[in-house]
């Protein structure tokens, strides 16, 4: 009975949304695939007129990343990204808080000996993930990807390496990495305030569009994000996966 009601209610919601959004004038308005905001970001003419032609090799653009999505995420709307990083940080800290009391009981970790294949392959897979993760993060201004997937790959490599060697990631080191990276994000924002008069404004000259060194602040921010995300995710896995005895001292 309950399920029948659920079917009817959800079908009703879908039908309502579908009829409202996909018929009549709403459809033309919603699915134009173009907005003034997006066009201005694509052309890089928010502050003033852009050059007549924009392409690889353009100099002095207001925002240098060739990848417009990166330009939006880290430059035009960088404040959102600070918030996004904070959500992840708060969620992982929150998971630690929620499971804190339980960890004190000190249940035994189901210590399983890592398999031989895992042990043998782990360093190589780790190296691969490490290189690819950093490459994706550092090329975020030129190619799709950026700091979040890059950081996730780094975290995957880290967790894999640690589980293969049977060691716990040190909470202190993860916190150190996470905290310093987060603080650096805010510090980059304050640097923008000091040098450019606006919080999170990108300082320094924007280079030649398409060059590896074209958007230094973007690269810096994506590096920070990648490190922070990897530390946070490794920490989350540690919190969710392992029940530890806090009486034992953490590895230095």
């Amino acid at each position: 009975m309950n399920k029948l009601l659920a079917v009817f209610v959800s079908a009703g919601v879908v039908a309502l949304l579908g009829v409202f959004l996909l018929t009549g004038p709403a459809r033309d308005q919603l699915f134009s695939g173009r907005s003034e905001l997006g066009d201005a970001f694509s052309r890089r003419d928010v502050r003033g007129p852009a050059p007549d032609q924009v392409g690889p090799g353009s100099r002095g653009l207001e925002s240098a990343p060739a990848n417009t999505v990166t330009a939006i995420v880290l430059d035009y709307r960088g404040f959102d990204t600070l918030g996004e990083v904070t959500v992840l940080f708060a969620a992982v800290a929150g998971a630690g808080l929620v499971l804190f009391a339980r960890r004190r009981r000190g249940q035994a970790v189901s210590a399983r000996r890592p398999s031989l294949i895992l042990t043998a392959a782990a360093p190589w897979v780790f190296l691969f993930l490490f290189v690819v993760g950093f490459a994706i993060a550092l090329h975020g201004h030129l190619t799709p990807g950026g700091g979040f997937p890059g950081g996730a790959l780094l975290a995957a490599g880290l967790v894999l390496l640690l589980s293969a060697t049977g060691r716990e990631p040190s909470a202190r080191r993860l916190h150190l990495l996470e905290g310093l990276a987060g603080f650096s994000f805010v510090a980059v924002g304050v640097a923008g305030l000091v040098w450019k008069g606006s919080f999170l404004a990108h300082f320094g000259d924007s280079g030649v569009l398409g060059d590896f060194w074209s958007a230094p602040v973007t690269m810096l921010l994506y590096l920070i994000i990648a490190l922070k995300v990897s530390a946070e995710l490794a920490n989350a896995v540690r919190t969710l996966a392992h029940v530890e005895d806090p009486t034992t001292k953490e590895a230095p």
Binding site: G38, G83, F183
Partner: protein, 526 residues
Amino acid sequence: MSAAVAFIAAPLAAAFLLPLLGTRPTWGTRAASLLTLGALFALGAWMLAGPVPPHVIVLGGWRAPFGISLYVDASSLMLVTLFELLALAALWFQHQHGQEKPVSFDVLVLVLMAAGAGAVLTQDLFNLFVFLEIATVAALALSAPQTGSPRGVIRYWLFSAVSGAAMLLGIAILYSGAGTLNLVDLGARWGRLAEPVRWLSGVLILLGFLVKMEIMPFHGWAPATYRRAPSSVGLLLSGVVTGLAAFSAWKFFALVLRGGTSLPPVSGVFSFSQALFGLGALTLILGALAMLAEKDGKRLLAFSTISQMGLVLMALALGNPRAVRGALFLVFSHALGKSLLFLVAGIAVSRTRRSEWGAWRGLGQSSRSLVWFWFLGTATVVGLPLVPGFWGKLSFVGGALGMGMWGKAGVALLIAATVAESVALLRVGHGLWEHADLRKRSGDVDETSAAAGAAPACKACAGVSYWAGALAISAGILWMGLWPATFTRAFADTAAAYAGDQPVSVVRTSTDAFAPRRDGQGQVKP
């Protein structure tokens, strides 16, 4: 002019750095978090001591409809400063009277402060969504009980996850229709949107705010969450989270929905704002009646918050300047009064380990202050003359009486709800005050200090945090109640600025400066 960014950046920086001091709470971590909050409170007080001209802070150097901007004026600054004060009181209280919590508790309180300031100040719809999500995540983790059933919190997660999803869908619809995310810019383009787009996005986004404001059909998570959460977190939930939700809901309602006037009536009968007014009225009266039936002290306070938020929603839905001024006043007075009640409840719970208010009988015999603070909090919440709740309700009544039938019915409901709420709260206060059966209670009293969990270092400073917090909040209550003029003026200015009544309103000029760009269809004008 960018000083207000500190209310977001500083707590975040502190929250990121705090775990470096270790996961275990120490003297140092506690001092660091309290000092950060204290410094932010001092900054707010210092800024408010001088004149606060309304101004827009542009983030990243990208001008208004394109980048994200913050709008700072006296009211928003007051609200943020109030948040810092409440967090200071709550966190210190938790340090002294609560169970030992890891450092992440302090970290999340700081994150909540950043989210509160961000949600109050930001002028960008998606940024507002991000800050609401941060606030939700922090509030969820803070209110999870260390022992016992987490079902209330899971329900809280469920409600906020669904409402967050609805809000995101609404933002998606609104963005794809209007092509902008700035609240003022959205308001300017609202009229050009197709009617279904307006309806769907308006309803879906408001749903997100209503859940966080604990409005009646969406309040189901609140009582159980409040009951299981520490009282300090209850204080933060009812003072900070509902406060920021109410303020940002009003921003959306006033700037984008233009006070509900821009939506066509529902099948020609009642308008959008009347529907919200109805929801608020329902919440006001049912919340107050539920308080009468409630045996659990913390659930009773939760229903009181629900009822008060119903009144705030009614006032916001009326939309006239007097009523809106009253709504802002009520947000402040409710936050102050309810915090006082939660501090008393926190002491009571830490002494008896029960949340049923029947178990708190006679606690006021040994410490009279509990009774006095409870009565002051009650007076503030129900609105006796000379406390801030009175000015808020007066302003609401003044605004409502000019609105015909609906307004008069609202005033009648308000009187009924006020009576019910007073009876329910005074009953608990009387219970605290009266003689208890001492034989039954003697056992509890003995384990008082042991039961408190983290026993304070010295016996003498046992109640310092409670006294300091309660006295600071009482001072705020008396100040707002006896000299309401500063606040009234600030709230009236804000209401006028958001309604666009003032000839030169910074809220609007900040985006109108770029109006020429918008006229051409994507063409740059020289």
